[in-house]
Amino acid sequence: MPAHSLSFDPDDRYHAFLTTCSRAEHGNGPLKGIAVAVKDNISTKGIETTCASRILKGYIPPYDAHVVSLLKAAGAAVVGKTNMDEFGMGTTTENSAFGPTLNPCDTLRVPGGSSGGSAAAVAGGMVKMALGTDTGGSIRCPAAFCGITGLKPTYGRVSRFGLIAYSNSLEQIGPMGKTVSDVATLMGIIAGHDRRDSTSQARPFSHTLKADVKGLRIGIPGEYFGPGVDPEIASVVRRAIGRLEELGAVTVPCSIPSMQYALAAYYVTCTSEASSNLARFDGVRYGPAPDTKKAWHEAFQEVRREGFGPEVRRRIMLGTFALSSGYYGKYYAKAQIARQNVKADFARILAGVDVIAGPTMPSIAFTFGEKSDPLSMYLADILTVPANLAGIPAISVPCGKVRGMPVGLQIMGKHFEDERVMDVAYAYEQAVS
């Protein structure tokens, strides 16, 4: 039973939260009394969980996600639910049905997405750590844009039970914090097997960070520094990698040829999975009431047209199209081969190096409205989606600034070597702080 409570009344000038708990109960444990924010697509018993969508307004989960049970068991105070792009679909948090989150580093710019609220809550000093989810960069992008640290764990390292699914084969829940230590602490609480998620593995995280990169081999893919990447970002990230070299790491040039179609493979896969996952939102078991006097499809369409924002409807339609007979072979089947090629490229490179490093994002945080065209927003995910397609761990750690805005250094590693990518990030962080 919770023995204590924490009062939480933040000055949420960045609109990081959708729901706050003014008195958050908590017990004892390694996170005793520490305020932790949880992204609003992660189920919290008794606390409204909307995925930043009108279709889930008022939905109160009757159970906790596995990660939330683990947080509570560790004594953490779950103080609120953070803003996001609706159902995780976006790179800016502008797709929230309840208004965008502002970037604490420059309120005229987006915090990144889709875990923009979690990043802003940490960067704005409202919480020490937060949970996000990462389907194609949704933890790493806002971490990079807001100047904090965020880890996308290896696929299967963290249970997805209670995460409201968008694209099951790609997404993972992961930790976000100001420092690599905070991220490691939170990862230690949430990682491990859960029988309710059959893709979760018995790989708990219990690791003491080591700031030692002597002799470490770092692969540097040319594609991460090529066309489409802001040259100033490329140069800041190269300097950061140079710092790791000064600490004794060795860099090795490499190439990921499958990058040429990785982004297309990602968007075909995630929209296809979304078209199936989001079929459950019909307003019948939860959500706004459909007109029960109308015929099923008419009532269903009405609820979903009103309840989903345009990007969610666009992705459901794209996925429906990609899976439809006549187009399945051209889109979905090809995307799955492409995904295996991405995985094979990483396996080949990581057989010769310990980690791969590059920028997290090809640009600094956008100004509001800058990415109003959907395709131009999708293109911003080019450097983060490969790790999701391959299922490997990837961390973003702050590594400097361009035009006053934070830049993220991304470290990717072998499956289940989350410890190693965190050690490399930690070594960099310790060297520059």
């Binding site: 939905y59 059959s198 179609y261 078991r285 047209r305 995307a335 492409a338």
Partner: protein, 89 residues
């Protein structure tokens, strides 16, 4: 190229509904995205090898489920312990 008519058809298949005034923009965006997806034509082969997937089975044991009250709490319309839905026929 997909036409406005096809986009409307997909919207109906996906049950997301579409307003007349959205159709032109949606079709335009759809075509730009599909053009980009054409980079997948570079991928060789027709079907991904299926050698890494395996089933994870467990014993079919009964557990304590949510109560009826908990299950119905979020439903917008209920009657006699059932959830009310639009008519199917």
């Amino acid at each position: 190229m997909v036409t406005e008519h096809e986009v409307q058809h997909i919207a109906e298949l996906a049950d997301v509904g579409i307003n007349k005034d959205e159709l032109e923009t949606f079709t335009h965006q759809f075509n730009a995205i599909l053009d980009y997806f054409d980079t997948l034509d570079l991928v060789k082969g027709e079907q991904a090898a299926n050698d890494e997937l395996f089933n994870v089975m467990r014993e079919d044991e009964t557990e304590t489920p949510l109560t009826q009250e908990e299950v119905l709490r979020n439903a917008p319309a209920t009657e006699d312990g059932f959830i009310k839905a639009p008519r199917v026929m």
